[in-house]
């Protein structure tokens, strides 16, 4: 058995008998690998008796699923209405400038992947970004620079 087959075995087992469990299974796979490895799709297809194209259809439908490996940390810049009205675009521009990547890309050192989300539900603190599971609010260009700098420093401590 190869590594991915081994890795997703408990997930397959957990959901195999459940109807409509494709999405939670994909979510758990992504939680584990941060993306959906191609091999895992083939395994799911065999075990769940769902054709590969249908699984791919589901994966491409939902914004959450990624099929490419990502960096160590994920930065999500909010593009919701409140953030938009509070100059969120400039936050996105600043993050892109600092990391030198576009939305959906990963930095060369594979430290950050940049994503855009529709709203993080912290609109009172707009504009906001989220790094992994943590939200940073009331940002401006200077503050976002500091957040990124500090984040790396703290981790490298």
């Amino acid at each position: 058995m190869n590594k991915i087959e081994e890795g997703i075995k408990p997930i397959v087992k957990k959901y195999k008998e459940e109807v409509g469990a494709l999405i939670p299974a994909l979510q758990e796979i992504q939680e584990k690998y941060k993306y959906i490895p191609k091999e895992s799709i083939e395994i799911l297809s065999k075990e769940f008796h769902i054709p590969v194209p249908r699984i791919n259809g589901v994966i491409t439908f939902y914004a959450q699923f990624r099929t490419e490996p990502v960096g160590k940390h994920i930065i999500r810049v909010c593009h919701g209405t409140a953030c938009f009205v509070n100059n969120g675009d400039s936050i996105m521009d600043t993050v892109k400038e600092i990391l030198n990547i576009e939305v959906g890309e990963t930095t060369e050192d594979r430290y950050y992947t940049l994503e855009q989300v529709a709203c993080l539900g912290c609109c009172s603190l707009a504009p906001v970004i989220m790094i992994d599971d943590r939200v940073y609010g009331k940002l401006d260009s200077t503050k976002v620079k500091n957040v990124l700098k500090k984040f790396k420093e703290v981790e490298n401590d």
């Binding site: 469990a21 589901v58 209405t81 009205v85 609109c123």
Partner: protein, 589 residues
């Protein structure tokens, strides 16, 4: 000796993002050797003053402190130990006349948010102390028909956007015959700029579970699902905990409280698709498929999840239910207007002073919500528009501020009540740009099933894009309108049917702004980059070089202490010089 019972820190997502964890850790550490309990609570709505700390005294009164950071929390713990009040940090004292009489508190009525920010959301005991799970007991005593009758009497209408009478929906689902029925709680909260449901889920998860269980009992369903968006990790954790506790206490599971009625609730995490907030798409998603809306009829009440009768309601709708059952439908119906009863929670955001969640009686005017409860516009700038209803709603101008907040009055303006997002804009927002923003969102989120929604919205986006770039023509406006009605009529689900609303309302109320873009090639709000120019006022420039140092493309030249100049051929109009200048010498026009 202290007469303080406990210290509570608001730890919903907003609080955490504002730094509540440090405050919690500090207070916990500093008060470890006292007998004061340090606890977390949900959002009390005053997001603009987060992080918030509430001190609860043995005699029942309490004081709420705001804007607490790491340093202030140290100061506060010293005050607590000395049994003193930190006057300078007080933001609210419940029951105190001085605070209760201010409009922020006086004009609110808390039913949905009755417990949020008051109880520890991770404690079922505290929920029970606040009449929690009494609604279930009372429902069992009185019977299903009574429950449905009471909800009908309350006049409660769906809070997810469409405003369908909840009692009627339950009646239909209850009347369907089937071996299996389902209850679904719609916690997808897709409106980008709204977070009412998140506040409820994080601050009072049991009220939603109880509402769902009552609904299950009323219609004869034994299984419930909560479809919650994946961007709400904390809400998911709190719900998981709440479900486990409710099972433990036998408010969920087999034969609840010996009533013979069994009900279970499972969580389903969304996967990032706005259209899945639409009820039929949501059910396809729970079934494990692409979340494509399907034609109605059949209605969910007859054939929903896995083709079984299903009743789907919004988070806020469910959170109202236990209160109605305990206090009576009549009492709920005594609040609000003739056709819109009860209260509505709004998420106030944008350029508003008191941003956060508020709960107001139906029938209150937009002006009261924005200026009295919301405190008006940041920096006392001029109000320009309020966006309500998100991508399905519209932008309303100052002349409509006296519109009462009820389903019908709002529909008449061309906007909708929606789920409760209220984004306030000042003169710095360009209405054409805002309309474009929503269309961009809709184009991205259209599932692609209906041609008009898929292509029509894109065409509209392209026209708006042209206008914001100064390449629009007057006939574009007619075409926009024509397309808007075609998209509305040619789409199967609510997404397409309402997607043109932001464009139509802005055309109706802010047509001058479109015309300025087209005829004068000017963006009055100074937002659309192609139509603005940055210049330096020689009379104000001190030659400090700050602008030049901030310019990412070296478009600014000038010697120290001499007037600087922007080279228009290089300038990318990022506005960095404009923000950087300390002497207001950079002019945007």
């Amino acid at each position: 000796m202290t007469n303080i019972k406990r210290v509570k820190i608001g730890m919903a997502s907003c609080g955490l993002a504002a730094g509540a964890q440090v405050v919690f850790d500090n207070l916990k550490e500093d008060l470890a050797d006292s007998n004061i309990v340090v606890e977390r609570t949900g959002c009390i709505g005053m997001c603009f003053r987060e992080p918030l700390v509430e001190i609860e005294y043995n005699d029942g009164h309490s004081i709420i402190y705001g804007d607490i950071d790491g340093k202030k929390s140290k100061f506060l713990s010293q005050k607590i130990k000395n049994n003193e009040i930190a006057e300078e940090l007080v933001v609210y004292i419940p029951g105190d006349e001085k605070y209760e009489n201010d409009h922020y508190h006086k004009k609110q009525i808390k039913i949905v948010l009755r417990n949020s920010g008051i109880i520890n959301p991770e404690s079922i005991v505290e929920y029970i102390e606040k009449n929690g799970y009494k609604g279930i007991k009372k429902s069992f005593e009185k019977g299903k028909d009574w429950v449905i009758e009471e909800i009908l009497k309350s006049g409660l209408r769906g809070r997810g956007g469409a405003g369908f009478p909840t009692g009627l929906k339950w009646k239909f689902a209850g009347g369907s015959k089937s071996d299996m029925k389902y209850i679904i709680c719609n916690a997808d909260e897709g409106d980008p700029g709204a977070f009412m449901d998140r506040s409820v889920l994080e601050g009072d998860p049991h009220s939603v579970l109880e509402g769902m269980t009552i609904a299950g009992y009323a219609i004869g369903a034994n299984q419930g699902y909560i479809y919650v968006r994946a961007e709400y990790p904390l809400a998911i954790i709190r719900l998981e905990k709440a479900i486990a506790q409710a099972k433990e206490e036998e408010f969920l599971g087999e034969n609840i409280l010996n009533s013979g009625f069994s009900f279970d609730i499972s969580l389903k995490k969304g996967a990032g698709a706005f259209v899945c907030g639409e009820e039929t798409a949501l059910m396809r998603s729970i079934e494990g498929n692409r979340g494509m809306p399907t034609l109605k009829p059949p209605f969910p009440a007859n054939s929903g999840l896995w083709k079984k009768p299903t009743n789907i309601n919004n988070v806020e709708t469910f959170a109202n239910v236990p209160w109605i059952i305990v206090n009576g439908g009549d009492k709920y119906a005594s609040i609000g207007t003739e056709k819109s009863k009860g209260t509505k929670v709004f998420a106030l955001t944008g350029k508003i002073k008191n941003s956060g969640t508020v709960e107001v009686p139906m029938g209150i005017t937009l002006r009261e919500v924005i200026f009295d409860v919301g405190g008006g516009i940041i920096n006392d700038k001029k109000f320009k528009a309020v966006q309500i209803g998100g991508p399905s709603g519209g932008c309303l101008p100052a002349s409509l501020l006296d519109t009462p907040v009820d389903y019908d009055s709002l529909n008449n303006t061309g906007a909708i009540m929606g789920s409760g997002g209220m984004v306030v804009m000042d003169e710095d927002s360009c209405m054409v740009d805002v309309a474009k923003f929503f269309l961009d969102f809709v184009v991205e989120e259209s599932c692609g099933k209906c041609t008009f929604c898929r292509i029509g919205n894109r065409r509209m986006y392209e026209i708006l894009d042209r206008i914001t770039k100064g390449k629009g023509e007057m006939k574009d406006l007619d075409e926009l309108e024509a397309l808007a009605y075609q998209v509305k009529n040619g789409s199967l689900c609510g997404l397409g049917q309402t997607a043109p609303n932001p464009v139509l309302t802005s055309l109706k109320y802010f047509r001058d702004e479109y015309i300025a873009h087209i005829k004068n090639k000017k963006c009055p709000a100074g937002v659309c980059k192609a139509l603005i120019e940055f210049r330096i006022d020689p009379d104000k420039c001190t030659g400090c070089t700050l602008c030049a140092r901030n310019c990412p493309v070296d478009a600014i030249s000038g010697e120290v202490k001499k007037t600087h100049i922007i080279d228009q051929s290089i300038c990318i109009k990022c506005g960095k010089c404009y923000t950087a200048c300390r002497f207001d010498a950079v002019i945007k026009e």
